[in-house]
């Protein structure tokens, strides 16, 4: 588009146009633009295909599983013994193991994560905040296999000094470490919710003579409650799907128990256990992996959808 008005012939451009400038109205609908648009559309389609692929693989193999094990046995039986000669496929022991890990993790992550969110959003001076937030993100960046190593080789021996009856593989230390892993998630999502509370609400409370903690606990936190709840649900869904910590530290003994000092097995740990072994394809034990995966998928998907709904509603209110 090199164009400079020439002193000799100032009207040259009117006769010759701009050399090098393509003024083609069809350019924006030309083959190149359309090709690029189609490629970008395909990229977006990959994300949809991923979900469809997950559903197809899980449902496809689960159908084969449920041809051999009835839904009644799956949800009615209370034993999970695929390795024994007399096989039982009752999902409850695996669900109970997952639930126990999740409850222990929630007891750790919810109070500590929420406290961190309140501190960072309401109390911390700007410089402290600039250091604290990235440090908490580092905690989220630790690979789960490293947390698993930590649970098995550090937390369990430490707890065994206080609780000598504790087994080497147990729900308690796995649950505690899963809780530590999801602290950053609770903290960062709750902090977003607390920050979204309009300043005027807090100022109104101050004007009525409330002290800082009264403003924070009785005005700001209740106003952000829906976002905080959503952060809990998302974090717990992460705890349900956590795999390496429970595989390494919680054991491989599916059983219905309320004792966190015993070895248990979660759904995720069972999935890994089957894929680690040399179970032949096409057997009912191999297919059970997909059935358990389907239950896990439905459970976490339901929780994520619920949290998304809550977040959307809460966004509209301000």
């Amino acid at each position: 588009m090199a164009f400079s008005p020439s002193s000799k012939d100032p009207l040259l451009w009117q006769r010759q146009g701009f050399p090098g400038l393509k003024l083609d109205a069809k350019l924006s609908r030309g083959p190149k633009e359309r090709l690029i648009g189609a490629f970008l559309g395909f990229c977006a389609l990959v994300t949809v295909l991923t979900t469809l692929g997950i559903v197809a693989v899980l449902v496809g193999e689960s159908v084969a599983f449920f041809e051999q094990v009835s839904l009644r046995a799956f949800f009615g039986d209370t034993k999970w013994t695929p390795q024994f000669a007399e096989k039982h496929f009752g999902i409850w022991p695996l669900l109970a193991g997952t639930l126990m890990i999740t409850v222990i993790a929630a007891l750790v992550a919810i109070p500590i994560g929420l406290a961190a969110a309140i501190y960072i959003s309401q109390y911390a001076p700007e410089t402290v905040r600039r250091w604290l937030k990235p440090s908490l993100e580092l905690l989220a960046g630790v690979p789960t296999v490293v947390y698993g190593y930590f649970a098995l080789t550090f937390v369990t021996p430490l707890l065994q000094r206080v609780l000598p009856q504790m087994q080497v593989y147990n729900a308690l230390s796995a649950g505690l470490v899963v809780g530590i892993m999801i602290i950053p998630m609770v903290a960062s999502l709750s902090e977003d919710a607390l920050r979204a509370v309009p300043r005027s609400l807090a100022e109104g409370a101050y004007a009525l003579g409330a002290t800082k903690y009264e403003v924070v606990l009785r005005v700001v936190v209740p106003a952000a409650l829906s976002g905080i709840m959503a952060s809990f649900i998302l974090a717990l869904s992460r705890a349900i799907g956590e795999t390496m910590i429970v595989t390494l530290a919680a054991g491989a003994t599916p059983r219905l128990t309320l004792n966190p000092l015993e070895s248990i097995q979660t759904m995720t740990a069972y999935i890994v256990q089957v894929s680690l072994g040399d179970t032949p394809q096409g057997t009912v034990v191999y297919q059970s992996l997909f059935a358990v995966g389907l239950v896990l998928f439905v459970l976490t998907l339901g929780m994520n959808l619920l949290a998304n709904r809550i977040i959307l509603r809460f966004k509209e209110s301000y």
């Binding site: 559309g41 960046g141 190593y149 930590f150 550090f154 894929s275 998928f297």
Partner: protein
Amino acid sequence: MGMVEVEAAVAARFDPRPIERRRIGQVLAVVLFFSTTFGLLVLLTLLVDVVQKGLPWLDWQFLTSYPSRNPEEAGIKSAIVGSFWMMLLTALFSVPVGIGAAIYLEEYAPRGWFLRLVQLNIANLAGIPSVIYGILGLGLFVRFFGLGRSLLAGALTMSLLVLPIIVISTQEALRAIPQGIRESAYALGATRWQVVSSHLLPIAAPGILTGVILSLSRAMGETAPLIMIGALTFIAFLPSSLLDPFTVLPIQIFNWTARPQEAFRGLAAAAILVLMVFLLLMNLSAILLRNYYERHRPH
């Protein structure tokens, strides 16, 4: 309620103890602060523990040897090379597709129910447990496409796993660009792709890069999906093609941690040290990049 009752109710809830109330607030602030630092103390404990147990095993021989039944001779050469290839291939597949999908959703797609559905789907994909992606990789890449327990199958699985992270961070970077930049470029007659390639992508580049680094560090630390597709085998060679079996650092760590012997736990700690140094460098560069970006935001 009559006037008298209202006054009585207000009087009952009135708490004229400013000094006590402030003191409760101070105690609360201290409790909140220590709760916040709890996670960091755990991280510190973890690091000290790993350094103590792993450092004696960490030497040149450890970095340049293949895994072995004898802990004295064992090393992580094949795991380091495998992790390197895994990252490279994952980036190769997931970065163009992730950025492309984000551009489509932000700049091309017509607004409407379909776009909202795709958006909801991506948010949900980000929350699906990684072991489920492993099941997908097992069913789709290992068996349906017949890629076997190969580097390629692993990298494709990992690419789908990190795709939502890249899409979401790229979308956020594109959304942060003021609308005026698009409008002025369109007003000059630029086509859609010209606007995207010459204006939006260069401006959004730091934000996109941060998301890419974070997603690749996630891919580097993931274990479960690769166990699912069958990467947990004894690998004493380097992959020479995309269809070769492989191992990566997290898998080697899992393998050694799961053994009861103390010596293998030391090896696991040493491998964790190597992995954590890599991840720390990646995370650090992402954080620095973001801080830089926040200070030099284009207007």
